[in-house]
Amino acid sequence: MFYATLEGLRRFNIPHNFEFISVISLYAQLIRDGRLKVDHSWNKDGLKFTCQDPCKLVRQGLGDKVAEDLRFVIRAVAGEENFVDTWPRLSNNYCCGGGGGALQAGFVENRRRFGRLKFDQLAATGADVVITPCHNCHTQILDICDYYGGRWKTTHLWNWVEKALVIDSRG
């Protein structure tokens, strides 16, 4: 969990010499810098994407900036017009209900009840793909999609970045 480390370093004042970053910001930076070339032409069928803003990464972690990076990357790899945003979004987005140990703690019924709001919100976007940058979100959203009968595909971001990669002929 991004936050566990970030907040841990912060709260316990743990000495370290590195900078702690999210891979999403890294993707965005690489794409912006041109070090990573992506092409969304693969998505000629117009697969619609939306995403989850992981609480621990966005609201509690790096804020709206990383959430905007996430959208930037999705738009870059799936096509500008193929991204459908949720509401609420960014730092104000709903928690999926899988975080905070809920996936491990048992109380499955409660967890799914919690996830209902997230399910309705994602379903309302009509997206075909839900990008879940966080592992907990990924598992929870897979589960509620299945449980409540959603029709989207729940995936990590890296699959789509890979799909859109433009590899120099130099290889």
Binding site: W87, P88, L90, S91, N92
Partner: protein
């Protein structure tokens, strides 16, 4: 020290600034009124209606603005910035910069041709971007000064000279001046008043509100413009997304207030609850009977002002929904609607769809204002409001510089107006020895006696450039005027109001020996005073004058019917001539002023009023019913900011007693009052007769003691049950027993906001919480529970509510359906109440129970109100002349009120009101004589039957029934000339001078001739 300057700088032309300027200019000081924008009026001019009277904001404001705009002793500096202030009390040197208007105000006739032709549209800041204006614009239709201005940021010509310039081409009076330059200069003043107001909180940063994302989420200020007839949808109330009329609106309270997390504003903005209710009510009215559903989502309903609670009750009865819930999530719904998800107190989630959401945004200080205050060395508090002390509520940290209005703390209009007068009083206190030294006075030649002369009427027909002439055939009208009976002279002018025509008119009157004048031009509402003054300059009584409004009410509204408009202009001229024929010269009624004040009541309000006047050199007779000074204040321990009350009071009493200008009459009441403004004679119970020019009523109020009835709560039965003031007594006495207490319970609203006393006592929440904090100081381990209905710690008082919670004082809400149950068991108090969140019965066993009981009006106020012919509210408080704009005046001239007899209020507001009352009183006391209305009622006693209908319908008690003669009599000093008496009289026995039935009939019949 050399004599102080006799002038004052007022910075900020909102209602507070305008009020301060008018008070000062009318009491002998010259005022520079500086306003940053192109017109005065401030926020109030943007509002649609005002609470709790639902007055049209522009309607009640406009006359004040016009008055300020043409006041001989107010130098209106619009588009002007204050750069620097040097010096100190009595002598400040102020550097200002007047920014270019690019329109010569002396030439602009506000015809609007320029704006019509201007090709550049930009969002209107007055409409908060909801509508557009042109690059050359009037800030708003009733702007004062009514002069156009060019916005250099938008103007095509100013950005690229040579392009555009249409306005200059079409301006009929050649007023456009693209070469206008900023101008810097210095002003020498003796005092400075800052009335820079506030700006509405910008909720863009509060993403969860959906503002800036959803078009149909608007701020309350934006909603005011949507409601306003002069707003972007001309009062039709459309929602922004599709211009449809909303059917269901939600208001969200405390947006940017009482929020230390996202908004960083821990204070309460004081006005939002009331304006939200007002908007909810008005919106329903706009949309017709019950068509619109309005819901208000709030934390605590804060309707703590005069008439507010009744307004709230009425709104509830009329079907406005109130939800005690803050809303976190606003979701988009179909048709641009919005879905609100909120939680009931039981924790149940409810969802409701609205087609519009209004954010009740709070008030904050503009960063530019912060910078100015910083540059001026004015201390700000941590919320960036100007720091003041509760005992000197309008004094800033820099001596000689005063502050009023929302700049000091969020507040409503009456409070701002009150403070404006208080600030004027502050400035007057420094500068009184220089009164009338810098003011200008108009001198007129003696008036010609025209009684015996037959009417010789002159008619001046104005072309108003092309404003009239392009539609109305002014030549034809002029020729026609010459044919009318009594008309000996008629002339057409390009601009009748231009300085050269005015001079020429004066000459014409003398040359032609005219004794009546008609000007056919624009509206008398703006121009009558100018022409009347011209008549006086020509030695003619100013009441021998009429206007025919052939522009605003003719050429401008019948542009497509030139023939009919010309005929109508002739009719209007004929009517005016018929009316003026009957006009008689009227006296300028002067009432000599006895320059002494009577102040009734020697509590804080009365003593502050008395001292404020006495310090300005006016003798005061201070009458107190009890045999000691101090009033209610003697019972208070400290203010909510912790200032010891008794020390302040001691000092105040000492100053009053030793002041050479104050006579104190203790143990004395009023027996009889005669006379009117300037000339009161009051007989006191000790036999003394006091002649005075003004009176200030400051008789205070009482604390409600719930000895019987539903709010008893063991009061008077158990020794450990106190009212707030009784607990204060123990604090004052430093009762050590308090330190040993383990548990205290406070019950709020004891006898307030209940059917028999349906008003909020305003002070008790703050007082009770401060007492709880005091108990915590005495014993930090004491458990304290506050049983409340709504916590009403408005303004900065919110911080002590926060502090109380922080200190572990527990607040439990109750309502009238769930009253606390107080019992006694073995001499021990037991209190039970249901906590609405836990939905569980809570039991407390306090060893101290404090009742925050109501402030109630004194029973003898009625008698006093009869003496001074002033009205009372249903609750028995005294009623001011106007709830919004005349908060310390009575409808009866020369009588003012201050303190608790007006409404419950804390000491800082009492002091401000007392200073304000003193300021208003100086308007009379500073003069040898006051002018009373000339156009007044007059009784024909031959016709009068004495039925007294006239007396009953007179709102000013100017007409009374005289038992001796059996006839009605008019006190011209009180009469305002409204004519309600005339229309009520069946016998034609009472009439209004120059507005008699015969004259009106002459005009009516003239209209029907041809």
């Amino acid at each position: 020290m050399s004599r102080p300057k006799g002038s004052v700088l007022v910075v900020g032309g909102g209602i507070a600034g305008v009020q301060a300027a008018l008070d000062l200019a009318d009491s002998g000081f010259y005022v520079h009124l500086v306003e940053k924008s192109s017109a005065i009026g401030g926020t109030m001019s943007q509002l649609d209606k005002t609470f709790p009277t639902n007055d049209c904001s522009a309607c009640i404001l406009s006359p004040k603005l016009v008055e300020a705009g043409r006041h001989l002793n107010i130098n209106l500096l619009t588009l002007t910035d204050v750069l620097d202030v040097q010096g100190g009390p009595g002598s400040f040197n102020v550097r200002v910069r007047k920014n270019p208007r690019y329109v010569d105000p002396d030439k602009c006739i506000a015809c609007g041709t320029c704006a019509e032709k201007c090709p550049k549209k930009v969002p209107s800041e007055f409409d908060l971007g909801l509508g557009t204006r042109k690059a050359i614009y009037l800030r708003y239709p009733q702007a004062v000064p009514l002069k156009y201005a060019i916005d250099p940021e938008a103007c095509i010509y100013l950005k690229k000279p040579g392009r555009c310039g249409f306005c200059k081409k079409v301006c009929p009076s050649g007023a456009i001046n693209f070469d206008d330059k900023p101008e810097e200069f210095n002003l020498e003043v003796g005092s400075v008043i800052l009335s820079l107001g506030f700006r509405p909180f910008d909720p863009s940063g509060l993403d969860y509100t959906g503002y800036a994302t959803f078009k149909n989420v608007v701020t309350s200020m934006e909603f005011e413009r949507l409601l306003s007839p002069s707003g972007p949808c001309m009062g039709h109330m459309e929602r922004p997304s599709d211009h449809k009329e909303p059917r269901k609106i939600a208001w969200l309270q405390c947006i940017g207030s009482r929020d230390i997390n996202r908004a960083c504003h821990g204070y309460c903005s004081s006005v939002c609850c009331m304006y939200a209710i007002k908007q909810a009510v008005i919106a329903r009215e706009h949309s017709g009977s019950g068509q619109l559903s309005s819901s208000i989502f709030f934390m605590d309903m804060r309707t703590h002002g005069k008439g507010f609670e009744a307004y709230f009750d009425r709104a509830m009865k009329e079907g406005v929904n109130f939800h005690r819930a803050r809303v976190h999530t606003i979701l988009p719904a179909a048709d641009d609607n919005l879905l609100l998800r909120y939680s009931g107190e039981d924790g149940g989630i409810r969802e409701e769809e609205f087609d519009m959401v209004v954010l009740s945004v709070g008030l904050e200080t503009d960063p530019e204002v912060m910078k100015l205050c910083h540059d001026l060395g004015i201390e700000l508090d941590h919320d960036n409001f100007v720091s003041t002390s509760l005992f000197a509520p309008v004094a800033s940290s820099r001596p000689g510089i005063f502050v009023c209005g929302a700049l000091g703390e969020p507040k409503d209009i009456p409070q701002s107006v009150m403070e404006a007068s208080a600030a004027a009083c502050g400035a007057g206190g420094i500068l009184h020895s220089s009164r009338w030294t810098e003011t200008r006075k108009k001198e007129f030649p003696p008036e010609r006696n025209v009684y015996a002369e037959p009417p010789r009427i002159g008619v001046f027909v104005c072309s108003c450039g092309i404003n009239i002439a392009s539609v109305v055939d002014v030549e034809e009208v002029t020729e026609y005027a010459k044919t009318l009976p009594g008309v000996v002279f008629a002339q057409n002018n390009l601009f009748t109001c231009s300085q050269d025509t005015i001079n020429q008119m004066s000459e014409t009157v003398k040359r032609e020996r005219l004794n009546r004048v008609v000007v056919a031009s624009c509206t008398p509402r703006t121009h009558e005073p100018l022409f009347q003054e011209t008549l006086r300059e020509a030695g003619i009584n100013k009441f021998l004058f009429e206007m025919a409004n052939i522009r605003d009410q003719d050429s401008w509204v019948h542009q497509k019917w030139p023939h009919e408009a010309t005929n109508k202009a002739k009719d209007l001229v004929r009517m005016a001539v018929a009316k003026v024929r009957g006009d008689e010269p009227l006296p300028y009624n002067h009432v000599p002023v006895t320059r002494k004040a009577l102040v009734i009541g020697a509590g804080v309000a009365g003593m502050v009023s008395a001292l404020s006047l006495a310090d300005q050199g006016f003798p005061v007779c201070l009458v107190e019913r009890k045999d000691h000074l101090g009033g209610h204040g003697r019972k208070f321990y400290r203010t909510w900011q912790g200032n010891p009350m008794q020390e302040y009071l001691e000092e105040l009493m000492e100053r009053v007693q030793s002041h050479p200008k104050i006579d104190v009459e203790l143990g004395t009441t009023i027996d009889e009052v005669e006379g009117s403004v300037g000339q009161f004679r009051t007989r006191l119970s000790n036999g003394l007769e006091v002649a005075h020019g003004v009176a200030i009523v400051a008789v205070g109020a009482e604390s409600f003691k719930p000895r019987y009835g539903p709010w008893n709560y063991l009061y008077g039965k158990n020794p450990n049950v106190h009212t707030l003031l009784e607990l204060d007594q123990r604090f004052i006495a430093d009762d050590n027993a308090l330190r040993g207490l383990h548990e205290a319970v406070f019950i709020h609203c004891v006898g307030s906001r209940v059917p028999e006393r349906p008003y909020c006592s305003r002070v008790c929440c703050t007082h009770a919480i401060d007492q709880a904090l005091r108990l915590k100081e005495l014993n930090p381990d004491m458990d304290i529970f506050m049983l409340y209905r709504d916590i009403r710690t408005y303004g900065k008082r919110e911080y002590i509510y926060q502090e109380a919670r922080e200190k572990g004082i527990v607040f439990i809400r109750y309502d009238l359906d769930n009253l606390p149950n107080v019992r006694e068991k073995d001499g021990k108090i037991m209190v039970e109440v249901i906590d609405p969140i836990l939905e569980r019965q809570i039991r407390m066993r306090p060893d101290l129970l404090v009742l925050a009981s109501a402030v109630r009006p004194r029973d003898d106020v009625g008698e006093l109100s009869r003496f001074f012919k002033c009205a009372m509210t249903e609750e028995g408080f005294l009623l001011e002349a106007h709830m919004k704009l005349r908060p310390v005046d009575f409808a009866t001239d020369g009588v003012y009120l201050a303190g608790l007899c007006h409404y419950p209020k804390p000491v800082e507001e009492t002091i401000a009101q007392a200073q304000a009352a003193a300021s208003r009183a100086t308007l009379v006391l500073s003069r040898d004589a006051v002018l009373s209305e000339s156009i007044t009622a007059v009784v024909n006693s031959m016709k009068c039957t004495g039925c007294a209908v006239c007396a009953m319908v007179c709102a000013y008690s100017a007409v009374t029934f005289d038992r001796n003669s059996g006839k009605a009599v008019v006190d011209t000093g009180l009469c305002k000339g409204c004519g309600a008496c005339v229309a009520g009289c069946r016998s034609d026995a009472i009439t209004i001078r120059n507005l008699g039935n015969e004259q009106i009939m002459a005009a009516v019949e003239a209209a029907m001739e041809e």
